[in-house]
């Protein structure tokens, strides 16, 4: 394969047992073989002071790595008061050694001291505070952009909005529908045993309908959209940041808010309530299928009972959450995208944070909604 294979391995020998004044180097001193040479060099009993002759006439191959090791050895010997002479090196190797020696190379790159625990805590706290302030500012900017758009509706970019409605809404129909259908089945299945014990089979309708309409369907939709579209928003804006497209927009005089953020926010606010109604329906359908097969509640009976089981307020309390969740997901997704700095790793980091934060905020908001609705007696 490579030419080194035929060359004797690198060796370092010294004639004396102590105070080696005459050291011989031989073999291939290259990046592939040098790992074996270093321990040899360390074992040489270098004298404390005086002159040392390093006979390098046996060196058959030398690359920059080998040259560096030779150079470093001489430098270290000089530091402790020995003068080392390298003799017998082939002229082309000698010029390589001279090239390495001519460069200013720090012996060991000074590693910055690891910050203490208190410093880390402080930095982290500061980062969180700055992040919150930045997020607040971003929400404010988006609100201003939205107000401006409301005042001049023609400036709203309808084409991107419609595009986002399609990608975030229409194309999410299969997955959201399937998952909420399964959720309906699971709830009915879990309730079936308990209800059967009391002969209260018919109440499976109340169970499924209330759980889906009030809580699960908006929450499920929000979580799927956060994972599906929120992450896409972050990745898109983040990559545009890396490729300086955001800066380009600014220089052209187009607000990034107006072009990138508003259409996404508006589209999600349109789409999320619609998706929630849709998952309401598919979820209850799932419950219906399970109720018939497990509890002998026929479709007719189920639908009749549905009328009595749920009030309109249950439907509205679920639906009211959807636009709020939509705003959270779109704003967090876009904000995280703008937080990307130069590297590819940062895109991944921010995308992860975008999904985690938006799901976290969605669930916290959902809890707040529950408390408020309880107060309002809805």
């Amino acid at each position: 394969m490579t030419s080194e294979a035929t060359v004797p391995p690198a060796v370092v020998t010294s004639s004396e047992a102590t105070d080696a004044r005459d050291v011989r180097c031989a073999g291939a001193w290259t990046v592939r073989t040098i790992a074996d040479v270093e321990p040899h060099l360390a074992r040489v009993p270098w004298p404390a002071a005086g002159e040392v002759a390093i006979d390098a006439s046996g060196v058959s191959l030398l690359d920059t790595t080998g040259a560096w090791l030779l150079h470093r050895t001489v430098r270290e010997l000089a530091a402790r008061g020995c003068t080392a002479h390298i003799v017998g090196l082939r002229p082309e190797f000698a010029s390589l050694l001279a090239l390495i020696a001519s460069r200013e190379i720090p012996l060991a790159s000074p590693a910055p001291p690891a910050p203490g625990r208190l410093e880390r805590l402080g930095r982290h706290a500061w980062a969180v505070a700055a992040g919150s302030a930045g997020y607040l500012a971003f929400v404010g900017e988006s609100a201003i952009a939205l107000l401006r758009a409301v005042r001049h509706p023609r400036r709203l970019r309808w084409l991107p909005i419609l595009h986002n409605v399609q990608t975030a809404g229409l194309e999410a129909l299969p997955i959201t529908g399937l998952l909420s259908f399964l959720m309906g089945i699971v709830i009915a299945y879990q309730g079936a045993d308990q209800l059967q014990r009391f002969g209260a089979n018919i109440f499976v309708v109340d169970l499924v309908a209330l759980a889906m309409l009030r809580e699960l369907s908006p929450l499920l939709t929000a979580i799927i959209i956060a994972g599906r579209s929120g992450s896409a928003y972050t990745a898109q804006i983040g990559t545009m940041k890396v490729t300086e497209e955001i800066d380009a927009l600014r220089t052209i005089g187009v607000g990034a808010q107006e072009l990138l953020v508003l259409p996404k926010v508006v589209a999600l606010i349109i789409v999320m309530p619609l998706l929630t109604v849709y998952t309401d329906v598919t979820g209850v359908l799932g419950g219906m299928v399970m109720a018939r097969s497990k509890l002998d509640v026929s479709f007719d009976v189920f639908v009749d009972r549905l009328d009595e089981a749920i009030q309109v307020s249950s439907y509205w309390t679920g639906l009211a959450k959807a636009p709020v969740f939509a705003m959270i997901i779109a704003l967090v997704g876009c904000y995280r995208g703008f937080q990307v700095t130069g590297s590819a790793e940062s895109v991944g980091e921010q995308t992860t944070m975008s999904v985690v934060q938006s799901i976290f905020l969605v669930i916290v908001t959902d809890a707040i909604f529950s408390i408020v609705f309880l107060w309002l007696d809805l």
Partner: protein, 266 residues
């Protein structure tokens, strides 16, 4: 610099024979042949879209030609599997046009990463060797701990070159080494390319538009035009060529300016 085995010493380093490339119906190369000798700085030039970067990508195994043979260090690379290509890949280094540095790593870590992957050097030596490579490309010592996003365009190219040199390759590929650089940085690259060849005994193949770089650094130049090689030779030879495509290239306003510059230097 390295003592090559007798068989490799005289043989050409890169031998491209009758290579044709097509993207769908579009013909990129038709029957392209060229050879690069050891220790030579070879430049591949041509207008935008003439397929010079494609040819480079085919030589470094990032793309496959439709037909033809490409030998590097005497080994056929067309159709070579990734496993079989590994020993070859360790013997060459590639500098990409836009650097292609790993953005999550510092400059020193970019170089060290290659050493960690392919050698069993101790950690201390890896760090030192990385610093040597960074210094060899003319970067200041404080560039090592910096991230690529903190560097200027010229420094990023040098950092990319430092990574290409990590394993002490025998062959170096440079894709547009001076593109996007100011004239001062570009002439720094001219000297660097020549210095590396003379100092480390490298064979260098570069793809470039830069006539100044060719006049100052290249030993031989191949001109690609309309999918084939329209001229090969030293710059002086090419500047006397009768081929219309070559003349167009070397006797345009910029070509003439570079020519006059080159004459003045002599």
């Amino acid at each position: 610099m390295d003592a090559r085995p007798p068989s490799g010493a005289a043989a050409v380093v890169i031998d491209v024979r009758a290579v044709s490339t097509r993207f769908g119906d579009a013909v990129v190369h038709e029957d392209v042949s060229l050879a690069v000798n050891p220790g030579e700085i070879f430049a591949l030039v041509g207008g935008s879209g003439s397929g010079k970067s494609t040819l480079l990508r085919e030589i470094i195994l990032l793309q496959q030609p439709a037909s033809g043979s490409i030998r590097v260090f005497g080994q056929e690379v067309v159709g070579l599997s990734d496993d079989d290509a590994l020993p070859l890949r360790r013997r060459w280094g590639v500098m990409f046009e836009r650097g292609a540095l790993f953005s999550a790593l510092t400059v020193a870590e970019n170089v060290a990463m290659v050493l960690h992957e392919h050698t069993d050097l101790p950690e201390r030596l890896v760090r030192e060797v990385a610093a040597v490579k960074v210094a060899l490309t003319g970067l200041p010592p404080d560039a090592g701990p910096k991230y690529p996003s903190e560097l200027s365009g010229g420094m990023r190219k040098r950092a990319s070159l430092a990574r290409a040199l990590a394993l002490d390759p025998e062959l170096l590929f440079l894709d547009e080494p001076t593109a996007g650089l100011d004239p001062l940085s570009a002439s720094g690259i001219d000297e660097l390319v020549r210095g590396l060849r003379d100092g480390l005994g490298l064979t260098i193949m570069m793809v470039t538009h830069d006539l100044d770089l060719m006049w100052r650094a290249a030993d031989r130049v191949a001109v690609l035009g309309k999918g084939r090689i329209v001229g090969v030779g030293s710059m002086t030879e090419l500047s006397h060529s009768d081929d219309p495509l070559v003349r167009q290239y070397f006797h345009g306003p910029r070509g003439r300016a570079a020519l006059e510059q080159a004459w003045k230097r002599k």
